[in-house]
């Protein structure tokens, strides 16, 4: 069976590696130049054995590379269609158009950061928390000198701490406190409730994340709006012939341990255990324990 896995984050990499080991013909597709998804820009220790996102990424890449899965990077899946019992994907691969045909589709498109809807939110210098992490952790670039982090959860706290450690002046506010962002060619100040104004050159939106279901939606996967995450979720019990939604795209920011477990469950359904089912080239149990540890 031809299986296309869209999204080479942890969930997509686990699914691709496992499915390839179970004899499926797998193509793992991602628009970035490297596999790993958020592991490429997240930096945190995992558990007491000093495993971190880097070593987890190395493990996952090893599991995929030692399988027969084909990895297609710099490849944007910009449309997906049901054709007969299978699928056709319109893919822009490094600037050239091509079509990929699959019998089964695994959507592992991860999550999207929530936006901030206030006047001035489109100004240059307003960015998502993952944008700030990519600049800081992948490129060693501090996105500003006086930053305002918007959010109230764990990610807002972690980001505030990381940016401050990197040498920036950071204040943290909730989304409800922001009335507007001002500036001419980019962020210059943030106006808060109660008439307060904060000078800033960067606003980082760390309000949370929602499943990225654009591609699943294109295939008419039934979705329901979840106001608690300000985003769409896959409808519970949805019947999706030939289509599996896994990882953050299914669960949102549910936590890596849940993502890993749900992904393994999905693979079991697509390609039930065979004689070599135990061999997945990855210490999944250890990985789950480490992921649970970072969840606290």
């Amino acid at each position: 069976m031809n299986v296309a896995v869209i999204g080479a984050g942890p969930a997509g990499m686990i699914a691709a590696g496992m499915l390839a080991r179970r004899g499926q013909s797998v193509t793992l597709i991602d628009e970035q130049t490297g596999s790993g998804g958020h592991l490429r820009y997240d930096r945190y220790p995992v558990g007491s054995d000093r495993h971190d996102s880097d070593s987890w990424l190395t493990e996952l890449r090893g599991a995929v590379d030692s399988s027969n899965a084909v990895v297609l990077l710099s490849a944007i899946v910009w449309a997906a269609f049901r054709v007969g019992d299978g699928f056709e994907l319109a893919v822009n691969h490094a600037g050239a158009e091509r079509t990929i045909v699959a019998d089964h589709l695994v959507v592992a498109t991860g999550t999207t950061d929530l936006a901030l809807i206030v006047p001035g939110a489109t100004l240059p210098g307003v960015m998502t928390s993952r944008a700030a992490r990519i600049l800081l952790n992948r490129h060693d670039v501090l996105p500003g000198q006086r930053l305002v982090v918007v959010g109230a959860g764990v990610e807002a706290e972690r980001l505030t701490s990381d940016l401050a450690s990197a040498g920036a002046e950071v204040s943290t506010v909730t989304a409800d406190e922001i009335e507007s962002i001002a500036g001419s060619r980019g962020v210059e100040s943030v106006h808060l409730t109660g008439g307060r104004t904060v000078t800033a050159d960067c606003v980082v939106v760390a309000r949370g994340e929602a499943p990225d279901l654009q591609l699943a939606g294109m295939l008419e996967a039934p979705r329901t709006y979840d106001s608690s995450v300000e985003g769409w979720r896959l409808a519970v019990g949805a019947d999706l012939p030939g289509l599996s939604v896994i990882g953050g795209a299914l669960l949102g920011a549910a936590g890596p341990a849940h993502v890993v477990k749900a992904t393994i469950d999905t693979v079991e359904r697509i390609a039930p255990a065979g004689p070599e089912s135990g061999e997945i080239g990855l210490d999944i149990t250890g990985a789950i324990i480490r992921w649970e540890a970072v969840q606290g």
């Binding site: 944007i76 240059p124 307003v126 960015m127 996105p143 050159d201």
Partner: protein, 106 residues
Amino acid sequence: MNGHGARRRATGTASAVQITFDGEPLTAVDTDTVASALIAAGHRVFTIDSHDGSPRGGFCFVGRCSDCLMVIDGQPGTMACITPVRDGMRVETQHGRGHWGREGQS
């Protein structure tokens, strides 16, 4: 410069790459995307919005939001955030939908 405080903290083992931004030379490093190179150099306006003329500078940095579309080597609508830099690359601010350059049409 636009007067904001973005800066590169370290370059590690990365080697220098020369590109141009709106005709001016700009030194990036080989691990940069176009977006990270511009931010590190103090430039944060990538695109002028086609609807209201407002400046945009990249929001998601993962190839999702279309706020970083630039004319890169003559090709408009290229996402600066997922395009790696390479020596001699010509990067231009995109106005509206942008215009194809001669090399982009080949």
